[in-house]
């Protein structure tokens, strides 16, 4: 820091006068760690300001909250499936046989000081963590912030989301209550449906027949060590890359692809982010203090002979539940092996497909555009209609699966037949994304037209003026230079042309099928039907001279 070096210089000039204690400590540390240069390079790092850039922060902070509360819970949780009898303070469980895992969760809830609150913070924060990652990912998607150079960071983020899902699932399974046990049974079904090796895998995972007495301990080390460890590593890499790439910003006056306009990390963002962390913690703690989540004391301990309705996973696994619920129960015999297609198709094929569809999109778009430039200006969703339409279609796809996963609650709360909902989901799974894609693209194009109109003709003020000769006109207020820049700053691609199929000598050129497909997609993306040409300088001036 410049101020620090100045004081050092002046202190030296004044001679023997001893430097303040804090400075000496800092000097001592710098001599061994070299933090001055590191801090100098990074403390003034600039970040742009927009509320949607804080969604990732919500995810980061809820992850920290989960780790903090999780550490507290490990102090009291016993990951053991030994049978014990409950004799604690909760009377409706008196004398019930249960695993030690379930009993210790009851003890955390009723005996450990602050245990129930911490458990609820941990669980609510987990739901919010995944939801925050989801919307953060959608923000990055819809603003095109995944484009070069950020593709790898997009993949890291996606992996964090998927790992978060499985960390959540293993955590949900730990208390060994009736709900989570049903969830583990569901997972066992998925493992069993793997052709040929399913039974072997299941035996391996559970150490014998389900449920066995191993899975809680195994899930425990996966939940508290393996998955969070990988996630922590990925998270650090994710943040380092954000630093390295610098943050994207929306178009605006003075904002270029080569700069970042915003506030420095220190002091502004340190203060804001620090404050925001406590706000996130506060909101989650307030929710946890007021609303119960996973009340295992009324769910009871897991027994394979019991099951309850409303047995669903936490929301982030809900779409897999939906896929299974609406899938017809197909079963075929293949060379003496039973293939349970009713489970294998939704969980082994569709489940990864839904996730991968969104993860690979950036690479498909990069291939279509063939754009190798770096992009640091975030797109407005309307200016990339096909991408925006794809994203919206994917969300509708995901949501339809969620509706299928909660079909019983849709049925009871809207007085519908559960069979009708199942059929709706089966059809909507194929139809709705297409419909949403088409509608969203039309909306984007409409918004682009509106922007064009605004740039060329100004804002409609609603003020009607009567001219001396009797004609009525509405006054249009021209946009400011800043507004004009913001509305026209985006790039528009030209569709890729393959060129003539025969050269000047009439010899046929070899055009691969991939190239043809690419040209076709490119035409759909950037052809006449894919975008509205933004107003040019000439059009603007021509109209302007006509108006006045």
């Amino acid at each position: 820091m410049s101020t620090a070096t100045e004081t050092r210089g002046s202190a030296a000039a004044e001679g023997k006068k001893k430097a303040p204690a804090g400075e000496r400590v800092a000097d001592w540390a710098d001599g061994r760690l070299g933090i001055y240069s590191l801090a100098k390079a990074n403390m003034r790092k600039i970040f742009p300001d927009h509320w949607s850039f804080m969604l990732g922060e919500v995810a980061l902070y809820s992850f920290i909250i989960i780790i903090l509360t999780g550490v507290y819970l490990t102090l009291f949780f016993h990951p053991s499936m030994n049978e014990v009898e409950y004799h604690g303070p909760y009377t409706p469980m008196q004398g019930v046989q249960m695993s030690e895992a379930f009993k210790s969760t009851l003890d955390i809830s009723f005996d450990v000081r602050g245990g129930l609150l911490v458990r609820q913070i941990h669980h609510w924060a987990a739901l919010i963590f995944l939801a925050a990652m989801f919307v953060h990912m959608m923000r990055v998607f819809f603003t095109g912030a995944f484009r070069k150079p950020r593709e790898i960071n997009w993949v890291f983020g996606f992996l964090l989301f998927v790992l978060g899902m499985f960390t959540g699932f293993t955590g949900y399974s730990l208390p060994d209550d009736l709900l989570s046990g049903t969830g583990v049974r569901f997972m066992e079904g998925a493992v069993l449906s793997v052709p040929i090796v399913g039974t072997y895998l299941s035996m391996f995972l559970f150490g014998g027949e389900f449920p066995g007495d191993d899975f809680v301990a195994r899930f425990y080390s996966i939940h508290i060590l393996v998955l969070p460890g990988i996630m922590l590593g990925l998270l650090v890499a994710h943040l380092i890359l954000v630093f390295y790439h610098k943050h994207t910003q929306f178009a605006g006056p003075g904002r270029k692809n080569s700069n970042v306009v915003g506030m420095p990390l220190l002091p502004v963002y340190m203060a804001k982010a620090g404050g925001f962390f406590f706000l996130v913690f506060g909101v989650i703690a307030a929710i946890a203090a007021l609303f119960t989540i996973n009340p295992i004391w009324v769910l009871g301990p897991y027994r394979p002979d019991q099951v309850s309705t409303n047995a669903q996973p936490d929301w982030y696994m809900g779409f897999s539940e939906g896929l299974v619920r609406v899938m017809p129960g197909w079963e075929v015999d293949f060379l003496g092996h039973t293939l349970v297609l009713g489970v294998a198709i939704p969980l082994m094929i569709l489940f990864p497909l839904v996730l991968v569809a969104i993860a690979v999109y950036p690479f498909i778009e990069a291939w279509v555009t063939g754009d190798k430039r770096e992009h640091h200006i975030a797109d407005r969703p309307r200016n990339a209609p096909t991408r925006t339409a794809f994203g919206a279609a994917w969300i509708s796809w995901y949501f339809v699966c969620l509706v299928g996963g909660g079909n019983d609650l849709w049925a009871t709360h809207f007085h519908l037949s559960i069979n009708a909902i199942t059929w709706f989901v089966r059809i909507a799974f194929f139809v709705l994304p297409v419909l949403v894609f088409w509608v969203t693209r039309r909306i984007c194009l409409g918004l682009q037209r509106k922007d064009r109109e605004k740039v060329l003709h100004g804002r409609e003020t609603g003020t009607i003026k009567r001219l001396p000769h009797g004609e009525f006109v509405e006054i249009h207020e021209p946009l400011s230079q800043e507004q004009l820049h913001t509305l026209t700053a985006h790039d528009q691609y030209e569709p890729v042309e393959i060129g003539p199929l025969k050269d000047e000598n009439g010899v046929e050129r070899k055009v691969s099928r991939g190239q043809k497909l690419r040209a076709k997609l490119s035409k759909g993306y950037y052809g006449e039907s894919g975008q509205i040409p933004k107003p040019t300088r000439e059009e603007y001036h021509e109209l302007e001279s006509g108006h006045h």
Binding site: M54, S109, L178, R303, V307, D408
Partner: protein, 270 residues
């Protein structure tokens, strides 16, 4: 007024107008809609109050169940269903049914307890069936709640949910919420198996077991049952929790983010 008219072209003006319009229509609907019917039912119950047993049956039940309770294409035979079934069906207002459908819903009862007893006596005389339980058979006080919980999870939870909040069955049928059901009616339902519910005879589920189950339901799902973790969001499990986390959890955090982003340190304009 001037302020208002200046804003009428604001981009959000249409939204505000729409919200007002929706609120007004909704308000008007709730103000004028339901009132009438409930009164009419009470009137008709008054006019029927004097009649007894068979007469009551002939007037209120025979159009579907036949004049002798032998059943018709619109309603099953009541021979041998017993007094307990009548006490449950009429006592919870399910009978007389309002309209055919996937399932006959619970509604305010039409007959008084005296009339119900008269009807029950008449139906019981058609053929022997389970009699009405006495209070000591279903009284939750002193029953084994923990054992009731285990029995409930084994026999009832797959349709009624962990704490008896209810759940969906096929084709629009459902297992109802047991929240405000009278202990007597819970007992009778297990005994007689109304509508889509299987019946749990005393051989399958002895009297003591039924009483334990009643006690469990009353402990975990009644107005004064405890919820140590706070508001229970309906007790529907992860779907309700997930929806809450999205709408109120993430919703609140996004609102906070917008608020924080709007209050930023202003850079010096050069």
């Amino acid at each position: 007024m001037k302020k208002l008219s200046a804003r009428r072209r604001h981009p959000l003006a249409a939204l505000v107008v729409l919200l007002f319009a929706l609120a007004a229509t909704g308000g008007l609907y709730t103000a004028f809609a339901p009132a009438g019917e409930a009164k009419a039912e009470q009137e008709s119950s008054k006019s029927l109050a004097i009649e007894e047993g068979k007469k009551l049956f002939a007037t209120g039940c025979s159009s579907c169940h036949g004049t002798g309770g032998q059943g018709t294409s619109d309603g099953p035979s009541l021979v041998g269903v017993g007094a307990a079934a009548v006490d449950f069906q009429v006592g919870t207002g399910r009978m007389p049914a309002q309209q055919p459908g996937a399932q006959v819903p619970k509604k305010p009862k039409v007959y008084s307890q005296d009339e119900i007893n008269q009807l029950a006596a008449y139906v019981a005389s058609l053929g022997s069936g389970p009699a009405k339980p006495t209070k000591d058979m279903y009284d939750p006080a002193g029953a084994d709640v923990a054992r009731g919980g285990e029995l409930f999870r084994t026999n009832c939870a797959q349709c009624h949910n962990f704490t008896g909040e209810g759940g969906a069955l096929t084709h629009g049928k459902y297992a109802p919420d047991l929240g405000d059901v009278d202990p007597k009616h819970i007992y009778e339902a297990m005994q007689t198996g109304p509508q889509n519910m299987p019946s749990f005879t005393d051989g399958a589920l002895p009297e003591k077991d039924k009483r334990d189950i009643v006690a469990y339901v009353k402990t975990v799902n009644s107005d004064n049952s405890e919820s140590p973790g706070g508001f229970k969001l309906g007790g529907f499990g992860p779907v309700a929790e997930g929806m809450f986390a999205w709408i109120f959890g993430l919703g609140a955090l996004i609102a906070v983010a917008v608020w924080v982003a709007a209050r930023t340190a202003k850079a010096k304009k050069s």
